[in-house]
Each structure stands twice: as C-alpha cells, then as structure tokens.
Amino acid sequence: MKDLLKVKNLKTHFFDKKQTVKAVDGVDFDIRTGETVALVGESGCGKSMTSLSIMQLVPGPNGKIVDGEVMMGSKNLLKLTENEMCQIRGNEISMIFQEPMTSLNPVLTVGEQIIEVITYHKRLPRKEAVKQAIELLNMVGIPRAEEIITDFPHRLSGGMRQRVMIAMAMSCDPKLLIADEPTTALDVTIQAQILDLMRDLSRKVNTAILLITHDLGVVSELAERIIVMYAGQIVEQASVDDIFDNPLHPYTQGLIESVPDIEGEIGRLNPITGNVPTPEQMPSGCRFAPRCTHAFGRCFEEEPVLLSKRHNTRAVRCFLYDEETGVKNVTDTKNTYS
C-alpha cells in the first residue's frame, strides 16, 4: 500500500503571556491509501489539534504550528499558501466534526451547502451540482433526498445531520477523510448506522479515514490501526488486534481496563489513578510516570522515545521495553513489580 499522508515531527503550540502550551509535541505517523487509522486518547491529549494541524485550521492567533512536516505525495501541506490549501480542503482532504448542528450553517438549506462544495471544487454548472447533491444524499441513506435538499438543518435529527455532513465531505471523493468524534453526540443505535455507513463508503471509494475518538469500542468497529496519544505525544502505535490482545504501554492497558464491558466477568474496575497533567505541571521525564503503576526511577528523569520494532508497525514509548529491539525488558519489570 502506498503512503498517502506522512506527518513528521509535528509540533503545534499555543502561546499566551504567561506560558506555552504544547498541545501537539512532536507527532510522527503515516496513513496509507484506503486505510482507517484511529487516533485515540482522553480529552486534552492533542488528538483534535493534530487533525486541525493537518488541515491547517489551528485556531489563531495564539495557536501556531511551530515545527514539522505534513507530506501529501511530494507536497508539504504546511508550506502551501492559504489559496492552495483551499484547493485541498474539502477536495483531497475533508473533515467531519463531532457536533453536526454547529458545523452546518443554520441559515442555508442542506442542499445549498452541498452544492457549494461541488461547484467550488468541480466547477460544475448548478444544474449538474444539484443532481450530484441528490445522488450524494441518496448514497448516505437519506430518504426523500429531493425534498430534504430544500430543508434547513434544524429540521433534521442528529443522525440525519451527520449523514448530510458525510455527504458533503464525500462530495469530491477525497483521498482522506478526517472524522473528529463523528458519533460521540449520537445514540448507540444511530451510531451503529453511521459507523456502518462510513465503513461502506470508505471501501467503495477507497478513502482513507483518520478517525479521532475517545471510544475504544468505536475504534474496534472501524479502524485497522491505532495511535494512542497522551499529553501531546504518541505513546503507542499498533494494529487493532495487537492493541486489544496485547497492549504494551501501561496507559493503553489502563484505558482498555477502565471500560466496563457489556459481556464477560464483572470485576472491580481498574482505573488509572490521578488526572491528566495540566500544561503548567507537565512532569519531567515520562509524562505518564506519575500515574503509572510500573514507573521506576528512570521514568522520572529521562523522557522515553517512541520505539518501533523493526519490520513492524508497532511502536511504544516506554522504558519497560528494550531500546534496540522493542522487546519487553525483563530486568526493568522485575524492579518495578517489587
């Protein structure tokens, strides 16, 4: 599979008078053509900022991408002018957001908003664009598309609005769809419908999806590969099967164990203690060390690097694993368990 997007050492910081908040602090990953990658983490871990940085929608003037590259083919998206970027957004990369109500324009009809994208990027005459908009609405499973197209967003339910957002995002057959918590605001039965739709569409048009979510359930439904973020950094990267069968990083293990399941044994939950560190109190050394049950001396002094096993997509940022091979370091674990 070809690499579609390569993110290298991305750093997005927020500046104010008192301090610098390092929302995204050196993130590297790539997305291959047609692949679904999930970016997982708790609120404030920088997952949304990573996606906004790719789209160059970081809220200014305080937020700035200070370093890094986002390569799409031979183009570095971070070097493009605003005009050039407009040709990419909604065309090659498109995005859907968590709250479908606030991301649709309330004073324009649904149809008008989809037609706008099509006429802008494909330069089609209006008549053609209307026809395509109806086709798109049919494709995302909206009944009576010819009538809905003249409706305003407030007339639609949450699930319907999210379908409209998806129709709009898919209107130019993007190579990459960034979905930021696409089903968080929806009920489970509607969520199941939307996840099904996204899976079908990505297969049909071979669109890669970058799924941003905090819900490990949604991840296992949709994604092939997972990137776990904590405090602005990637802490683990692996395939879905590997993550759930054998999570390496203590944070990933904690995340999986804190979710109460709907089947199997009911034991006491095993939560991660403490809270996500605030930017002012970012610990030195490993950022997860103060909450980690396996932490030992070195964790508090040095920052671990993201290690990847050779010939493998797996990577982990933790001193428990050997630096050369990425294999579990037995001597260290002995120390920590005692």
């Binding site: 339910s157 199941a192 296992s220 999986i256 979710v259 089947e263 939950l269």
Partner: protein, 340 residues
C-alpha cells in the same frame, strides 16, 4: 466482620426486601405544548407514559435508554423536581406524589438526593467548595459548629483533600467536580440517591474512578441507587437490576445477568447488539441488529406498542394494542406481544 454480624445484616436485609424503599406505579409525566398568542395547549409531550417499578433497599436499579426516552424526566419526576401528571411515587411506605412543598422539604428531600450529569453546570461558580456542601446542611438545620467538621469529613469520604475547601469549582477537573457533587448529595445521609448520567461527561479513566467511588460509598452507607445512564457497559457494571426505557415506556426490567445474557425485548436486543465493544482477547464478534429509522416524536407516539415502527419482529397486534409489562421468567419483566 464476624459471621454472626453478617447473618444479622442478612436477616435485616431479608426483612426489608419485602418492603421496597421506592415504589413507582403508573407514573406519567406529560409536558404541554403551547402555541399561538393565547398560549393554548395544542398537544402533549409524553415524556414518561405510565412507568411502574420497585426498588429494594440497598440495591442499584439501572435505567438505560437513548436520548429522549424519558429516563432523566423519570428521575426528576420521582424526586418531584417536576410535578408528575398522574401516578404515584411511594417512598418508604409514604405517597410523596402530592405532598406540599414544605412537607416535602421537611420529611423527604433529606432522604432522596440527586447527582447530576454535568459537573460544570451543577455547581455554583461563585460559591467555594465548602459553601456549596454546607448549603444543604444549613437548610436542614445541622448545628453550626458541626457544619464545617461535616464538610471535612465528606471531602475525605469522596477522596478530596480537605484543604480544597476554600477553593472555587473552576479550579477543579471534571472528575473532582463530580466528587464534589457526590459529597453534596451525601451531606444529609440520604437513603436513596438518584444519579442522572453521573459519569457521562468524564473521560474513561476518570469514569472508572467515580464508578468505584460510588460502589464503595454504597457499601459503606448502605445506599440505594437509581442509576440513570445511556451507557450499557457502565449500567451493567454498577447495577443489580436494569430497566430499559423507550419513548416514555419501560420495555424490559430484569436482573442484570438475565437482561444482558438473554435480552427478550427486540429493542433491548437491538440496543445491546449496537454497542461497539472493544474487542478483547479470544472473543467472537457479535451479530449486529441495525435498527432502521429513528426515534418517533414523544409528542405523537405510535399507536399500540411504541416500538412497532422500528421493530424487526413486529406483528399485526403490535400496532393495535399496547403491550403490558409482564413477568415472563421469574423477575424478568417484558412489555412485548411476542411473549404473551
């Protein structure tokens, strides 16, 4: 605890088991829809439409359902934050549905407390933590000298540092705020705590901390919980029995193991199958039932069974007659024509 003590407690529990702490019968909560210049009532939103159940002392009854199913309204109608349209709420043997406000405050409010979903909206931003927790104590006449001591004690119980007492809510994270909300609810030693989506606004790792805390407190103070949530995993974890609501009606009510292992109502089956569960080692992927369509409006619910418009197993009678909640297996109640 010595064995004799244990049996003693068990005996007491058995005795109480016959007497439910809370009995809700045929509760209805309709909201009028007003329109026009004269504000004439043109319709009714049937948020809760004839719900009955009992809660035994010391147990946790979970109520699940999707948004708009009336689960939160149910909680609020029980505690009389809304005046129910009809039906009865019997708390510790006494009908509280039509008690006067003063009487309610004097005798009932102390015993039933509520924990709310949004820890950001449910705490007054201009009150320090101490003032926030002291308020119920003042209202219900705890002697002034004991008040501050009690606040320290409560903070300690919910795992917050007592030195936090003079800080304001904005200084705390979501999880800490929810702990404050719980401390406030416990201030008056209630018997019944109605928790309305207490962990929905929290991150998973924090969510697990709060669930563990609630379980500990239940053991310690022998609390009874009515736990309202949309999250089926969380409800399964914390509840003893679970009720499933849809469009203002109770569709199924059973012991949790029965409900999750063998859901009887087609809606419960669909709901459970729709939950995207993290894949765990050696587990098979479950069969999915995807419901078509969306929730009908509670202002104009379908005739007969409210679920028949989306039900994959609907038969003719479903659109004509309203099914009654009946005991199909021991302690397993279902409102569905398929089991009649």
């Amino acid at each position: 605890m010595s064995p004799t003590q244990k049996t003693l407690i068990a005996d007491v529990k058995n005795e109480q088991a016959a007497k439910p702490i809370l009995e809700v019968s045929n509760l209805r909560m309709h909201f009028p829809i007003k329109a026009g210049v004269m504000q004439k009532t043109v319709g009714r939103v049937k948020a809760v439409d004839g719900v009955s159940f009992q809660v035994q002392p010391g147990e946790t009854l979970g109520i699940v359902g999707e948004s708009g199913c009336g689960k939160s309204t149910l909680g609020r109608a029980i505690i009389r934050l809304y005046q129910p349209t009809s039906g009865n709420v019997i708390f510790q043997g006494k009908d509280i549905t039509r008690l006067k406000e003063g009487e309610l405050r004097k005798n009932v409010r102390k015993q039933i407390q509520m924990v709310f979903q949004d820890p950001f909206a449910s705490l007054n931003p201009r009150k320090t933590l101490e003032n926030c927790i002291i308020e119920p104590l003042k209202t219900h006449g705890t002697p002034k000298i004991e008040q501050k001591e009690r606040v320290r004690e409560l903070l300690d119980t919910v795992g917050l540092d007592a030195t936090f007492a003079n800080r304001y809510p904005h200084e705390f994270s979501g999880g800490q705020r929810q702990r404050i909300g719980i401390a406030r609810a416990l201030a008056l030693n209630p018997n019944l705590v109605i928790a309305d989506e207490p962990v929905s606004a929290l991150d998973v790792s924090i969510q697990a901390q709060i669930i563990n805390l609630m379980e500990d407190l239940q053991q310690k103070y022998n609390l009874t919980y009515l736990f309202i949530s949309h999250d089926l995993g969380v409800v399964r974890h914390i509840s003893d029995r679970v009720g499933v609501m849809y469009l203002g009606n109770m569709m199924e009510l059973a012991e949790k193991h029965d409900l999750y292992k063998e859901p009887l109502h087609p809606y419960t089956q669909a709901l459970l199958s729709a939950v995207p569960a993290p894949r765990k080692k050696g587990k098979k992927k479950r069969e999915r039932i995807i419901l078509s369509g969306e929730l009908p409006s509670p202002a104009n619910p379908p005739n007969g069974c409210v679920f028949h418009t989306r039900c994959p197993a609907a038969i003719d009678v479903c659109s004509q007659q309203i099914p009654k909640l009946q005991e199909v297996h021991p302690k397993h109640y279902v409102a569905c024509h398929l089991y009649e």
